[in-house]
């Protein structure tokens, strides 16, 4: 007979206590970060009920099962309200896969190594920016607060390194599906981001010396449809998170690069889209242009963190289901996340923003964003975001990032709760020869300068 030391409600009570205190280390059975630092595995930090769906549902749902309207009530507490409603009423389904306990499979290898190496070295300076405590210079790489105790610490890590690679290029396809289930808008393009500080893989590191005052370069461009072909925008982020990025754009009609105001970050990027610049990685704005960060909850969660690479498609394109016409939702594989930390923040630097706050679910294990809900000015849920990350490894198939399999996001679902529109994004292998990947030193010249914008705006 096995003695059950922690009953089924122990973890729930623990999370409630932690939330009520407003801070505290992650982990139920032991401090999570200590466990990770010692073993690289999270198993000893959580009880069985948080390490498998079988444990959580007492065997009523098993790994490999599908969450649908028939059984969603069993996992209602593991979902944001929007996903729950979509499963219940709109035919959305989620496939359950095994919980990942090896933290090295949950982020790029070098980023995790840097996080381990630099743990405890980060702090906020008098301006509110994250710095290396030893010398006050910009952050040196990895998560600055792996054992985050506050909401702003979680957001700081996310804002400092979006894709967790020093440089990333994502070939992207976007679709907007209306409330009737029809795909109304389709776009294709690319997103490039390059860290100038906190670099963990690319030389020079941790800083690109001439750009130590900056945080990143980031470009988004579109190749289709024809009307937007060549349209591109370059953001140059200052390291000082009180400042707006400089924004330059090549608008196809103007045939030239022009500067644009950067403070309007709540505008749809393209017609039909529900996405704002502010939504990027749930931390699309400089950290200090938001405020009132606070932890509002903790608990287990269902999120897509593995088995999401569409390796069976030559261009990594994902299949869809649900909605009226089977086009509304990505086919997703989700796993039980033992502990998600829920943080709210308010757009204090944007008095005219259409949203009043955002609520973001962070994975306590590595501070990745699992989901986000934004609220309108009346406090009503407005838009919901959920995505999928994965190691790009499926059996014998691997897509490598240096010595290790590529880790990245695979797809994102953005739901406008008030209109019923859903914007779907996916990272594909290639758009017109622009191939997804990480840490390519040519990325800067290719995408992240004004001359690159001219080149991308080909005709």
């Amino acid at each position: 007979m096995r003695l059950i030391r922690y009953d089924h409600d122990y973890s729930r009570r623990h999370f409630l206590r932690q939330t009520a205190r407003g801070f505290g280390a992650a982990g139920v059975l032991a401090p999570l970060w200590d466990v990770i630092a010692a073993t690289g595995d999270i198993s000893k930090a959580y009880p069985d009920e948080l390490l498998s769906i079988e444990g959580y549902t007492k065997g009523r749902i098993k790994t490999g099962d599908e969450i649908s309207a028939k059984n969603v009530e069993l996992v209602k507490d593991l979902l944001e309200p929007v996903r729950y409603q979509q499963i219940l009423k709109d035919g959305r389904k989620l496939k359950i896969v095994k919980t990942t306990t090896d933290v090295m499979r949950l982020s790029p290898w070098e980023y995790i190594e840097a996080t381990l190496k630099n743990a405890g070295k980060g702090k906020f300076d008098e301006k509110g920016n994250v710095v290396n405590a030893a010398d006050g210079r910009p952050w040196i790489g990895g998560s600055p607060f792996p054992d985050a105790r506050t909401g702003i610490e979680l957001f700081a890590g996310q804002t400092l390194s979006w894709g967790r690679h020093d440089a990333s290029f994502y070939a992207i396809k976007l679709c907007d599906v209306n409330e009737k289930g029809e795909t109304g808008f389709r776009y294709a393009g690319g997103w490039a981001e390059l860290q100038t500080v906190a670099r963990v893989s690319m030389e020079p590191k941790p800083y690109w010396p001439q750009h130590e005052s900056k945080l990143r370069f980031q470009t988004v461009f579109f190749t289709a449809p024809q009307q937007f072909r060549g349209t591109s925008f370059l953001n140059v982020w200052a390291y000082d998170h009180r400042k707006f990025p400089d924004l330059y754009g090549y608008v196809a009609e103007f045939r030239r690069v022009r500067q644009f105001p950067a403070d309007q970050r709540f505008e749809p990027l393209l017609p039909g889209m529900t996405l704002f610049l502010s939504d990027a990685w749930a931390a699309g704005d400089p950290l200090l242009t938001w405020g009132n960060y606070k932890i509002v909850g903790r608990g287990p969660f269902l999120a897509a963190l593995s088995d999401s690479w569409a390796s069976d498609h030559p261009n990594w394109e994902h299949k869809t289901h649900g909605g009226v016409k089977g086009q509304t939702y990505w086919n997703s594989s989700v796993e039980l996340v033992p502990e998600a930390i829920i943080v709210e923040a308010e757009p204090t630097g944007y008095p005219r923003a259409p949203i009043s706050k955002k609520r973001v679910w962070f994975d306590a294990r590595n501070q990745t964003v699992l989901g986000m809900v934004t609220y309108d000015r009346n406090g009503q849920p407005y838009r919901s975001f959920d995505g999928a990350y994965s190691l790009y490894e499926a059996g014998a198939k691997k897509f490598m990032d240096g010595k290790h399999p590529y880790w990245s996001w695979c797809h994102v679902t953005c739901s406008d709760i008030q209109t019923g529109r859903v914007t779907r994004l996916e990272q594909v292998a290639n758009i017109e020869g622009y191939a997804s990947g990480a840490n390519d030193p040519k990325m800067y010249d290719r995408f992240l300068t004004q001359s690159a914008l001219i080149r991308l705006g080909a005709n």
Binding site: D176, G184, F185, R186, Y187, H211, T223, A224, P225, Q226, Q227, R229, A238, D246, Y248, E253, F254, R255, R256, R258, Q259, F260, P261, A262, D263, Q264, F266, E267, P268, L270, P271, G272, M273, T274, T289, P314, N315, G349, Y350, P351, R352, A353, P354, D376, R377, T419, R421, N430, I431, E432, G433, K442, D445, T449, Q450, S451, I454, R455, A458, N459
Partner: protein
């Protein structure tokens, strides 16, 4: 094609566009391979229809002329008094020293007397001497329901081979022609006075004057299709606005092939945007304002090198074949040159097509500040215009007294004397034809017929009616031989003009002008910054940029169309302030732009300011007003000009709706001299592949000045229209 079948065609094309579109939704491909590279393509179908809200035919076109159907009294001046008096005020044509009665008697057996000539087409109240009459231009006033309609297909294709790529865009347009237009057709009038030789010549440049209007063609003197990457005809155009190889190596990008180059932060005002001319053949420059010159900026073959010098500084250089600004053809809806003047484009004939433009711009962005400077060495794409010999050896019609008298005098005395004096060997069996060929005029149907039209057209074109006449005389020796005289005042000019217009008969006179291109050096400096204010306030994050250019000795069209062009130093200064401001939480931010432009010497379309503001002349006791809104009297101000430079302002707003499904815009261009162009518009994107645009152009060149001719908008004053665009992209 009959009107009904054309309507069916248009409806059919709309249906076909969307039917094809429905099938084409997934056609856009991004994962194909071609020639070893990644191949992709996409494209669009679009139907543009601009409905006129004035119902008027363009005032520069044959069926839109203010003189059509208007009886105008003509009184020929007496050459013996340098046209200070009128023939009918003297003893008659037979006693003028220059037209000896003996010569006329030899020609006709008897002196020219009352009743010798019957009134010709359009003529009434013919005086006994033939020295005065009333002429009523016999062309009808047309109606215009539609200003512009075209079916457009565009496709972009690219092949990427890593550092190399090939980029292309093909644009094809078709305009079915007469649908919604009262279309002028020269063939309806070719029987008058033996026709119009320029139109009949068969030369490439004559296409625009032959038959129906040439909507899309670009033919110049000596060359039917002078542009390497375009083939076009009256109703179609196919070109490759982009067709180039691109090479990227680190911080250097090179492009070789047909392409556009655009610079500058200012919108619409083309100070830094100086590399390429404009192609104004389609919807002139009154397309959707928010698109600026997307469809108008002309491409040119050449090489462009873009070098990222540092992370903050970009150098951009180009060398391109010179391609001029292409203006709409005669009798097309947005034509701006009176269709009775034949514009000889010397782009090919004088070798301008062999010339290159080149330029370099350096731009630096330093956080919230930026600075830029450029130098361009180019041929001015606007070109400069002057009188030229018509080259048409066609006698004056012999069916009117003055025409007959001039012809006879030419054959018997004037041409022999001219040959003797100038060593020429002009024939003496074709009336005044050989000498008229040496002037800027040609006799033919539907030409100029009265002094009233002359003054009206000169002021419309921002020319000086008096000195332009004098240059026709003193710079063309053959004209002097034809008993002409330079004039001092409007009355004298009217007398002289009427003398010749009566002699030109029922057809009238067509003027010949030529357009040449001259090299110039442009220097530009610019700078800007982003404001910082209270977050969310109107003063936060506004972009302010100033751009200034200096062009020494720019060659302008003289007010008198003189042979030696007018050279002046031009300075342009433009300010742009842009701001996104969110006024409503439920809809995206409003984009607002304010711009101001000052130009020292010329107006926005490149004409000298000195030519602006003319009034029209009408003889004492008459009141002929061919253009409303232009003061007309017997003591008119001729080219008073605009002092202090030209001033223009732009105010524009763009308000997207949620998800940008709808976009509402309003753009206004204000000519401080008194004109405005206001364009409210809506864009609707019901689906990603469907775009519907609706916009209205309200144009008024005389809001507060009291004279249309003070504003450059007078050229398009009646081009108000509502444009509907239906586009499908894939």
């Amino acid at each position: 094609m009959k009107q009904g079948s054309k309507s069916l065609w248009l409806l059919g094309s709309v249906a076909a566009t969307f039917a094809i579109g429905a099938e084409a939704q997934e056609l856009s491909r991004t994962d194909l391979r071609l020639f070893g590279g990644d191949f992709s393509y996409n494209g669009l179908f679009r139907i543009d229809t601009a409905y006129s809200t004035t119902g008027k035919v363009n005032a520069a076109n044959q069926l839109g002329l203010g003189s059509n159907g208007v009886p105008i009294e003509r009184r020929a001046g007496n050459p013996a008094t340098q046209y200070r008096t009128q023939l009918d005020d003297t003893a008659g044509i037979g006693v003028t020293p220059a037209l000896p009665a003996t010569l006329l008697s030899a020609a006709f057996g008897t002196p020219i007397t009352a009743g010798a000539f019957a009134p010709t087409l359009g003529v009434s109240n013919l005086s006994p001497t033939g020295g005065s009459d009333t002429f009523t231009r016999y062309l009808p006033r047309g109606e215009q329901v539609i200003n512009y309609h075209a079916l457009r297909f565009e496709t972009s294709a690219s092949i990427n081979w890593g550092n190399f790529s090939f980029q292309s865009r093909l644009r094809a347009l078709y305009d079915p022609g007469a649908l919604g237009y009262d279309e002028y057709n020269y063939n309806d009038y070719r029987g008058i006075d033996g026709g119009f030789q320029t139109a009949e010549s068969g030369r490439p440049e004559a296409r625009a004057y032959r038959g129906t209007p040439d909507y899309f063609g670009y033919s110049v003197d000596g060359k039917k299709n002078p542009l390497l990457f375009e083939r076009s005809g009256k109703n179609y155009s196919i070109d490759l606005p982009a067709f180039f190889l691109q090479y990227n190596s680190g911080n250097l990008t090179a492009r070789l092939g047909n392409q556009t180059v655009a610079w500058g932060q200012l919108l619409f005002f083309r100070l830094f945007d100086s590399a390429n001319g404009l192609d104004l053949r389609r919807h002139l420059f009154v397309d959707r304002a928010i698109e600026e010159f997307a469809d108008e900026r002309a491409s040119a073959p050449g090489l462009r090198l873009t070098y990222q010098v540092t992370d903050s500084i970009v150098a951009d250089a180009f060398a391109q074949q010179f391609i001029p600004t292409i203006v709409p053809n005669p009798n097309t809806p947005y034509n701006i040159v009176d269709s009775r003047f034949i514009l000889h484009d010397n782009y090919y004939k004088n070798g301008a097509y062999k010339k290159f433009n080149a330029g370099l711009r350096v731009k630096g962005d330093f956080g919230q500040y930026n600075a830029q400077a450029f130098y361009v060495n180019r041929l001015n794409p606007l070109g400069s215009i002057r009188w030229r010999k018509s080259g048409v050896d066609k006698a004056l019609p012999n069916d009117n007294a003055l025409g007959a008298a001039f012809n006879q005098a030419c054959q018997a005395a004037i041409i022999p004397a001219y040959n003797l004096q100038n060593g020429t060997n002009f024939r003496t069996d074709n009336g005044c034809g050989p000498l008229i060929a040496e002037t800027a005029f040609e006799a033919g149907p539907n030409g100029l017929n009265s002094y009233v039209e002359w003054f009206d057209r000169a002021s419309y074109t921002k020319l000086d009616a008096l000195v332009a006449l004098n240059r026709l005389i003193d710079e063309f020796p053959a004209a002097q031989a034809l008993l002409t005289a330079e004039v001092d005042n409007a009355e004298q000019a009217a007398n002289e003009l009427d003398a010749f217009f009566i002699a030109f008969g029922a057809g009238g006179a067509h003027g010949h002008v030529e357009r040449d291109y001259y090299r110039e050096h442009l220097f530009g400096l610019g700078g800007g910054f982003v404001t910082e204010g209270e977050p969310g306030s109107i003063f936060d994050q506004a972009l302010i940029n100033l751009e200034v250019t200096y062009t020494p000795k720019r060659v302008f069209t003289g007010l008198d169309l003189r042979q030696r062009y007018d050279k002046r130093d031009e300075i342009q200064a433009g300010l742009v302030v842009e701001k996104y401001q969110r006024f409503f939480q439920s809809v995206p931010a409003t984009y607002m732009v304010f711009q101001y432009l000052w130009q020292k010497e010329s107006s926005l379309e490149g004409l000298l300011l000195d030519g602006y503001g003319s009034e029209n002349y009408t003889r004492p006791g008459t009141n002929y007003r061919l253009t409303s809104g232009v003061p007309t009297n017997n003591n008119p101000k001729i080219t008073p000009g605009v002092s202090g430079g030209a001033n223009y302002a732009v105010l524009a707003f763009l308000q997207p709706g949620p998800q940008y499904i709808f976009e509402y815009s309003i753009a206004s261009l204000i000519d401080i001299q008194g004109g405005i162009l206001v364009q409210p518009g809506i864009q609707w994107k019901p689906r990603g592949n469907v775009t519907v645009n609706l916009f209205y152009n309200y144009i008024n060149s005389n809001v507060w000045s009291g004279n249309k001719n003070k504003s450059f908008l007078s050229f398009i004053d009646d081009r108000d229209d509502i444009t509907v665009r239906l586009g499908y992209q894939f």
